[in-house]
């Protein structure tokens, strides 16, 4: 993957306020993490397709978005074939969404908004550990 010193996370969410909050939260608890936010899933895909761009360790993905929703994004993302963990971060506590997310083996976790320090730490702990293993 990338050799960048600072790990990176993506937030893909059509709600700018949500992105703003997530950025603020992570700045507060993990100032060393690089953050990129996208209000359109298409933009996030385009960014990922650019080879020169640094790839994120985790993508936090909202499900309910206009034009391209979370599931559409997942379908396209699969085609690119990148080994990046995706965590669903959504306001929906709908059981059918949860079940669908569980079936998708590229989705590593399902977090109901708002993101908390604990939830973020437990998610990124995995990738920090995997970093240490390398």
């Amino acid at each position: 993957m990338t050799t960048s010193a600072r790990p990176m996370v993506f937030f893909v969410d059509d709600d700018p306020l949500s992105n703003k909050f997530n950025t603020m939260l992570i700045r507060k608890i993990h100032p060393d993490v690089e953050i990129k936010t996208f209000t359109k899933a298409e933009d996030a895909l385009a960014d990922l397709k650019q080879e020169k761009n640094q790839k994120p360790e985790v993508i936090f993905l909202d499900l309910n978005m206009p034009v391209m929703n979370g599931w559409d994004f997942m379908a396209e993302f699969k085609k690119i074939g990148l080994d990046i963990e995706v965590v669903v971060l959504t306001s929906s506590n709908d059981s059918s969404d949860k079940a669908k997310a569980e079936k998708n083996n590229q989705i590593k976790d399902y977090v109901v908004k708002p993101l908390t320090q604990n939830a973020f730490t437990s998610v990124v702990k995995k990738f920090f550990r995997s970093k240490e293993d390398e």
């Binding site: 306020l17 909050f21 603020m24 939260l25 306001s91 506590n93 709908d94 059981s95």
Partner: protein
């Protein structure tokens, strides 16, 4: 002679097919009886004619006798229509023969042979008009008999024989029987027609009603599926669109740091936090309620009650251990229900949780489950030894949304609402009995 009450009862209780069969049987019986009467009536004429030395008429009487027997026999063999025609044909031939050999020309004799004949015609044709006509004809002949007797100019051979008195006696009897039969038959026929008509109307009404109810049902079903879709939409909107800004509020509040030392500001923020939490709980609850409807898509299957209780016990393990609660099953280990497992478990879950949460502080909560199964229903009674509910006060509100009882409770008033809604989803009903400070019993009844 005829038990009409019984006949009517039988007809009203019988179906249309049975009624028709019954009518046929009735006609058969009537015909047999008439044949017996006919035999009784003609029998004296063996004597009368033989005394007069009229051997041909004796032969004709004999032929009548035989034909009556044949009719009864044919009826016995269930060829009653053939019997009818044979009788009509036979009597006609008889009349012809008599007229030829003896020169009978009086209405007397005609009456004597045509009387029973008419009855058979009537019985065969089932026409009220014909019955009336036959009665009129009989009356006419009766009058004729008396007229002939009073004003007879030429003496008849029967006077000489001295058998006319027997004849009158016989005929009166005959007439009385015929009248009774007519009367009864008309009455019976009317009753039969009425009951058949009623049945038909009822059936037609039933068909119309059923078609209408089917239309209604499909209409209701359409409406329901539309509202259900709306409800799903609503549930979706709540969980996505409404929760979305709320989660932002909660998020921002979680990273807000009050450091300006203003106590009032801190209080404001705390209150907003609390309200946001509360709003989120309500939204989550609504979602649970709405998604519970989706459980209906699951299929019914055989669920062992004891197993279901054990599953719920596992889900509630923390609360059970924390409170030291005991769950006791007081029913047959093999008791099974044919139902939707998830919904049943959700009911038990909420009731158990309720019992633990509303337990008294000085005793360990004890939940006793009793169940019995009859042919019609399955009754499950879940009792606890908790604080109880003041039913006189809360009677109407026990199963309503957002009603809690008692001062300090963890519940938000959603559990029992969910329980009732779940019980109703399974086509059952729930009731509650409670004594304050002794405990509460919830009784659930499902159709078996």
């Amino acid at each position: 002679m005829w038990n009409f009450k019984k006949i009517v009862e039988e007809i009203t209780h019988a179906g249309v097919t049975e009624a028709i069969a019954f009518e046929k049987q009735y006609r058969l019986k009537s015909m047999n009886l008439l044949c017996v009467i006919g035999i009784l009536i003609i029998s004296p004429y063996y004597y009368i004619f033989s005394m007069a030395g009229l051997w041909y008429p004796v032969l004709v009487v004999f032929l009548f006798h035989v034909s009556f027997f044949v009719v009864i026999f044919l009826n016995y063999l269930k060829h009653y229509t053939a019997g009818n025609y044979l009788l009509i044909f036979g009597t006609n031939m008889g009349i012809l023969g008599m007229s030829y050999f003896i020169g009978f020309d009086s209405g007397f004799h005609l009456y004597f042979f045509t009387g029973p004949l008419f009855i058979f015609w009537i019985f065969d044709l089932n026409q009220k008009k014909l019955i009336a006509y036959a009665i009129a004809l009989e009356l006419f002949f009766v009058v004729l008999v008396f007229v002939v007797k009073a004003y007879s100019v030429a003496p008849y051979s029967w006077h000489q024989v001295g058998g006319l008195d027997i004849y009158y006696l016989n005929m009166s009897f005959n007439l009385f029987l015929i009248f009774l039969l007519f009367h009864n038959y008309t009455k019976y026929y009317q009753l039969l027609t009425d009951s058949l008509m009623q049945k038909q109307e009822k059936l037609e009404g039933e068909v119309v009603k059923r078609i209408k109810s089917e239309e209604d049902t499909s209409k209701i079903f359409e409406d329901l599926s539309v509202s259900y879709k709306n409800l799903e939409q609503f549930s979706y909107i709540i969980s996505h669109n409404v929760r979305s800004p709320l989660s932002n509020i909660k998020g921002f509040l979680s990273i807000y740091e009050a450091n300006d030392g203003n106590a009032q500001n801190n209080q404001v923020i705390e209150s907003i936090k609390e309200s946001a939490e509360h709003l989120d709980e309500i939204i989550m609850d609504l979602n649970v309620l709405l998604s519970a409807k989706n459980l209906l898509l699951e299929n019914n299957r055989v669920v062992n009650l004891s197993d279901a209780i054990k599953n719920v016990g596992v889900s509630l393990a923390t609360e059970i251990q924390g409170s030291g609660a005991i769950i006791r099953e007081e029913f047959d280990r093999d008791l099974n229900l044919y139902t939707i497992k998830t919904i049943l478990q959700s009911i038990l879950f909420n009731l158990f949780q309720n019992a633990i949460r509303h337990s008294k502080s000085d005793v360990y909560p004890e939940i006793i489950i009793k169940a019995k199964k009859t042919e019609e229903y399955i009754e499950i009674a879940i009792s606890d030894n908790g604080k109880g509910i003041d039913l006189e006060k809360y009677h109407d509100r026990v199963f309503m949304l957002y009603h809690t009882f008692g001062e300090k409770t963890e519940g938000r008033g959603i559990g029992l609402f969910l329980v009732r809604s779940n019980v109703e989803m399974l086509g059952g009903r729930i009731s509650v009995e409670s004594i304050i400070n002794e405990g509460t019993t919830f009784i659930i009844q499902f159709k078996n």
